[in-house]
């Protein structure tokens, strides 16, 4: 199925609105997925993994502050998806970095962390540099890092499969480093036994975007149907009375 960026964006907003996301959060969630896909970073693959669980977040507690000082904070997201909590964590790092030059925010118990890339990009655009690092997986551990310089429009992103043992690895954690004075860059070290490494610099991310703007987005039919099925939850059943509310002519 071939769709436009606007169609994907609007359908995602409906989908998350219907799933109970708040105003502000459902736009964020939609734009996080959309941003990855638009820039060739497999946002729809990430979404397909997240979709079966997204309606469970409404039963979970909101993120809470575990620790905070002037240059750092620890947030527990209680198993929520990054789609509805990571933007606030990045904003907090941003605010602390502006006050103190550099800041670190650690987020625990957060799923789908790749979606942080959109929030990083917003920081770059606003003149703040950010880097993020996280690990993922239960049997095979992958690691990921992304960074953007102050004033840049596109981040870099690397991922690789590690030879780490799953014991002792906190697989749902994420570290954010943010600075108003230092330009942060990040890339995974090749000498640590990593395999299947993927690395995109900001130029490649920009190139992917141009391609999407020109021709739109290809989406798996069943995923598109599922997004729209969920999104139909915001639609009100039609009746003669409701037709009157459209003008009733």
């Amino acid at each position: 199925m071939h769709i436009s960026m606007n169609e994907l964006s609007a359908a995602l907003r409906r989908c998350f609105e219907a799933t109970g996301y708040f105003v502000g959060n459902y736009e964020d969630a939609a734009s996080m997925i959309f941003w990855l896909e638009k820039h060739g970073l497999q946002g729809l693959e990430e979404l397909a993994r997240a979709l079966p669980y997204i309606d469970q977040d409404r039963q979970k507690p909101l993120s809470s502050m575990v620790y905070e000082d002037s240059t750092s904070a620890i947030i527990d997201s209680h198993g929520r998806s990054a789609l509805n909590c990571i933007a606030a964590a990045v904003d907090l790092a941003h605010a602390k970095a502006l006050d103190n030059g550099i800041a670190t925010v650690k987020v625990h118990n957060c799923h789908n962390r790749k979606f942080i890339l959109k929030a990083l990009t917003d920081c770059g655009r606003r003149g703040i540099s950010v880097a993020a690092y996280w690990q993922n997986g239960s049997e095979v551990i992958t690691e990921h890092t992304a960074a953007i310089k102050a004033g840049d429009r596109y981040p870099s992103y690397s991922e690789a499969t590690t030879n780490l043992k799953s014991d002792g690895v906190e697989t749902q954690g994420l570290t954010i480093i943010c600075s108003s004075r230092v330009d942060l860059t990040s890339s995974l070290q090749e000498s640590k036994g990593n395999t299947e490494a993927l690395s995109l610099d900001s130029g490649q991310v920009a190139f992917n975007k141009e391609r999407t703007v020109e021709s739109g987005i290809n989406i798996n039919d069943s995923l598109w149907a599922e997004i729209n099925r969920l999104g139909a939850g915001v639609l009100v059943s039609s009746s003669e009375q409701s037709r009157q509310g459209a003008g009733g002519r």
Binding site: H2, V23, N25, L92, H94, A246
Partner: protein
Amino acid sequence: MTTPAAILASLRGDHALPLRPANQVMDLERLGSLHQSRLSFMRTLVRRIMKERWQIAPSLLQLDDQGYGTVVYQVRAPHGVFSFVLFSNYLSPEERNDRVIATQWDLTMALVEGTVDDVYLEKLRQNVPRQEAGRVDARVFVLSRANRSARNFDYVVDQLARGEQPDVDRIASVGYLYRTTAVYGSGKLGMADWEKVRTRHKDFARPFAGEMFVCLMLRNFSLMQAEHIARHKSPTRFTPLNPEIKRYFGIGNSTGLGMAPYLVNHPLLINQWIEMRELALARVRTLGHVDDSIKQQLNRLIDRCGTHMAETETEDDWQTDNNSAVRQDLLALKQYVDEDFEGWDALLTWSETHCSLQGQEMLVSIMLELYPELVDELEEFHSAEEMLDLDPLMPLHELKRIIETRYDWALAIDFEVEGARETCWYRSEEKMEPRLGSIADLEAKDKQMALGVGYAVHKCYSQLCEYMDKHANHTTARFMVARPKMRGIVRRIQSMNRCTYGDIQANLLDQNVLPMHLLRCKLAFFGVSKFDPRSRLWVRNTMFQGAPLLEDIGKPFSDDWFMPLAPQQSGEK
């Protein structure tokens, strides 16, 4: 040509021009009183086409004697070649329906990037006539459909076939042959996204330029088709339309609630449009030189607007009263100008105490009309980066101050009063059509769209005050972690605070809200005339009435089709 820096300096700071204040301009009833102006998108599009001498001609004309078939116009603009593709099919009167939920139309059309070959034309033929039920690709910028005016089309064809011109009085009453019922762009149904059009196709890189162009082409096709049918009906007696009468035909438009959510959901863009209109007014008010020539032009325009309003027919009592008030205002204005005119500033101030809102805004449109050298260059600045950004560093006392000053109108509303939250806006399962309902309908209440900005600000303010009782020195970022449900409205408040005009100041949840004001505001920016409300939820109007015809491109152009008048019929004085 002006620059963004010069515009910014005129809008804000020590050297700013005397702009009308936000609480005056953003009042919903005033926004619903706007008229077309020379900054309206139809005017700016036509100006561009005429100045740049676009070459527009049919490259395929396959119409049978009844006017059914396929037509492709090739459009050569300075930065690219485009195709306007139109399918004309028989539609029985019983199937003719202007509602968005209709499934068949007399005409369907598309604006396409590049030229179209037979294979692509066939692909379009399989999809364009189906509209929402079809799919197109990113070569298509705009998709639209139109229905015949039952009142006018056959009459005009019969007149021309008889060798006679249509009666101008009748055209003054209904000034079009077709009415467009939807114009889609911006990526709907697989089309090119606005980002593509804006960044890669300079000819259509202004808001709604592609959509307006399709309506203009529809108008031209409708006139060509009527002549085509009449010619085949009676080859010997047929006479073509007199050019002046032909120019007086516009294209009809039927607009419903869909435009209302757009205004609320694109606040930065709407603010930009309003900033440019108000900046143009402030320029005229401050820099507009007045001499005898300007006074004569002013008098002529006042007369023209009065006649235009007199020629505007509507069955709606409310609009009839408004039109009548505007005519009275124009008479009073003329008298004031004859006796006391000392300058624009004094005239505007006088109008604010002596004219209706629609009369005041008519004066604004007239003032802009008189000074193209101060106004027209602003047409290049109607786009906006539509990103609502959170400012995480903003101290909460600053956020509170902004709400108290920029959103004092929202804090002044008592949302506990009966009826203050009675209305809800929702999307129907029928083509996701936006509809208005009552919160008594629990499903509609539960699924309502977040259009109650005033109420959201009100709630945010009380949560903010409560939070600040304990954490007065926190930043917005910290408030967002603690109150994530406020993220959307805080981001909006902070972003709109960076604008001169900000949000529309009205409670859209009130039981007495008039969506018509929202529709009219957007339609005025488009440049329509002859507002004819059919209820408080939808309005008929006329587009491009008086605009140049395709055959006028390349000829002398006065850009003087503001508030067009019925041409005098042959034999009239």
